[in-house]
Amino acid sequence: MALVSIRSVNKVYDGNVHAVKDVSLEIRDKEFMVFVGPSGCGKTTTLRMVAGLESITSGDIVIGDTVVNQLPPMDRDIAMVFQNYALYPHMSVFHNMAFGLKMRKFEKPEIDKRVRDAAAILGIETLLDRKPRQLSGGQRQRVALGRAIVRHPQVFLFDEPLSNLDAKLRVQMRVELKKLHERLGTTAIYVTHDQVEAMTLGDRVVVMKDGIVQQVGEPLELYNTPANKFVAGFIGSPAMNFADVTLAESGGRLWAEAQGLRIGLPDPIARRANGRNGAHATLGIRPEDIHLASPTDADDLCFEAEVEVIEQLGSEIVLDTRVGRSAFVASVDPSLRMKVHDRLKLAMNPARLHLFDAGSEAAI
């Protein structure tokens, strides 16, 4: 068990592809840290640098209290679960799990005990004599986990371990991973491109884009107060709505205006946006923070929208609507009845409005 410290780490490939840019992070002892971002964002490269599979161009990586920059993977006391499981196809499940212990010259009885303990935790005791090709995707995933946990490493590294499983199994394995982490308490770094996985698994989540850390925080922190437009759009499903607006002062208040839209900005945002009269900005609001307007809703938070698509999900209705040149997705009460091309009056939850700078895209 250990903390992992990534200090001003850079990765440059072939002298010109700057894959990871000045990443600094502290991963606390026993923490489950998730790296999330679109493909090519540098999350896997960062993980591979921690593993020692990729060299570090500059900066330091510390595991426990050792700088591991120059250490080969085997001396870093880490275990990794690969996207394609990377099970040795010619070895039985038992030998796959025992390989790392054998290489480290553990005694036979100890190997046997550890493998059987891990197999019991993962529910694969009956599969120990099988070859990987005789296993289903979920079983292979468990063996790959087993191979990692028998070693009792300081840190677990996961490289998109669930992305090859079907949707149902993925949800199930996600829950099991969470339980496993609670049980073992080993520091874990988990890479995924799936924001749902990130939100459900992570104690904290790192959002990356183009090799740069966009934001680090607990899942709800990212959801409630995204640092910029990218994080706001990446976290949450369906994704946050964005509308290009012009800020205008009138009657002592600040308004966000676009074609067919005039929203009175509530106080905290208005204060932060002070002095931006006439500036362009992006207004953000999540689908679940838009509802059908009722008489109690203030007029300056309402807008009229035309329904374009209705998606009935049972627990909610997702509406694709159009307001002037902007599109808004709203998640509304499933008991409501409406038709395509209906014009509805919708209202925004003022506490949940977001405003982003048009240029830097940083939250205002």
Binding site: A51, G52, L53, P72, P73, M74, I78, A79, M80, F82, Q83, N84, A86, Y88, P89, H90, F99, G100, M103, R104, R147, R151
Partner: protein, 308 residues
């Protein structure tokens, strides 16, 4: 009326059509060309060869049935015994070197470096050039008077006298082994490289994290996964080398003093060179049980490896 006209042929196919639909006939028709070709060019010559070896036929003389007399004769023939030993030695030594060098080259080529595609293409050259042509070039290099090898060794001060590469029995054998290895390594290298490329690099990384050192990664991961490909490549190579003809024929013609004869070259010399067709047939048939055994053993092994 219109309805019966349309459905008529479907309901009642003509006899010829019905025969076409019978799968046994179709299977037979599809098999005939292959069967004829195999029969004409493999089965017939083989049987004819067996009959010839039981005869006393020579060039120009129609012989009589003599039973196993030809085999008895070659069994007591010291040149035949040398040829048998030579063939095994030649096949064994070249296969070991081809495998070792081929594997080494394949591992090198499996790394990333600039100009990888070009180097891979160049590696194949010895394999692409017609054997007879490249062997003539080698013969020139081993020539006692004009040998570039001798010249180089002499200039570097390693030797003071010419080495008679193809004139000394042991050196002649070594020389043809060198040429065979040179010619055969590309096939091993490229085939094994193809095999290496099917092994996921993630396995190497997983093994590295598991604590395996480079040679342990090779021994515990790469080698076992490459074994099926290796066995097939070795099988092909052994069959080809065992029955090799052109290399020895061009380089030494079986000499000096019959020291480098293989099954095939000796069979040719007896049968065509000397005109003893039946004895030549007996020599080349004597190759059959050995090859058969090698193939059976290797195929059984490959099957075991693959079902493992």
């Amino acid at each position: 009326m219109a309805v019966t006209a349309v459905s008529g042929p479907v309901a009642r196919p003509t006899p010829r059509l019905r025969r076409m639909e019978d799968e046994r006939w179709l299977a037979f028709a599809l098999l005939v060309p292959t069967a004829v070709l195999l029969g004409l060019f493999i089965a017939y010559p083989f049987i004819e060869g067996v009959l010839l070896s039981l005869n006393s036929t020579r060039v120009g003389v129609k012989g009589d049935f003599v039973g196993l007399k030809n085999f008895d004769k070659i069994w007591n023939d010291s040149i035949f015994r040398t040829s048998v030993w030579n063939t095994f030695w030649y096949t064994g030594v070249t296969t070991v070197f081809k495998l070792a060098l081929g594997l080494w080259l394949a591992m090198l080529l499996n790394r990333h470096f600039k100009g990888k595609a070009l180097v891979r293409a160049f590696i194949l050259l010895p394999f692409i050039i017609p054997t007879v042509l490249s062997t003539f070039a080698w013969k020139w290099m081993f020539d006692p008077t004009f040998s570039v090898i001798n010249w180089t060794l002499f200039q570097l001060g390693f030797i003071t006298q010419r080495i008679n590469w193809l004139g000394d029995p042991d050196l002649a054998m070594t020389s043809i082994i060198i040429v065979n290895v040179w010619r055969g390594v590309p096939f091993f290298a490229i085939s094994l490289l193809a095999g290496l490329q099917t092994i996921s690099p993630e396995l190497q990384e997983a093994a590295a994290i598991d604590g395996a050192r480079p040679w342990q990664r090779f021994w515990h991961v790469t080698w076992p996964l490459l074994l099926p490909v290796t066995m097939v490549v070795v099988l092909f190579s052994v069959i080809q080398t065992f029955a090799d003809f052109q290399l020895v024929y061009v380089m030494t013609g079986g000499g000096p003093a019959n020291a480098t004869h293989l099954f095939a070259t000796y069979a040719y010399q007896l049968g065509i060179g000397t005109g003893l067709l039946s004895e030549g047939a007996a020599v080349s048939l004597a190759m059959f049980p050995f090859l058969f055994l090698i193939v059976v053993v290797q195929l059984l092994y490959i099957r075991r490896v693959e079902t493992r």
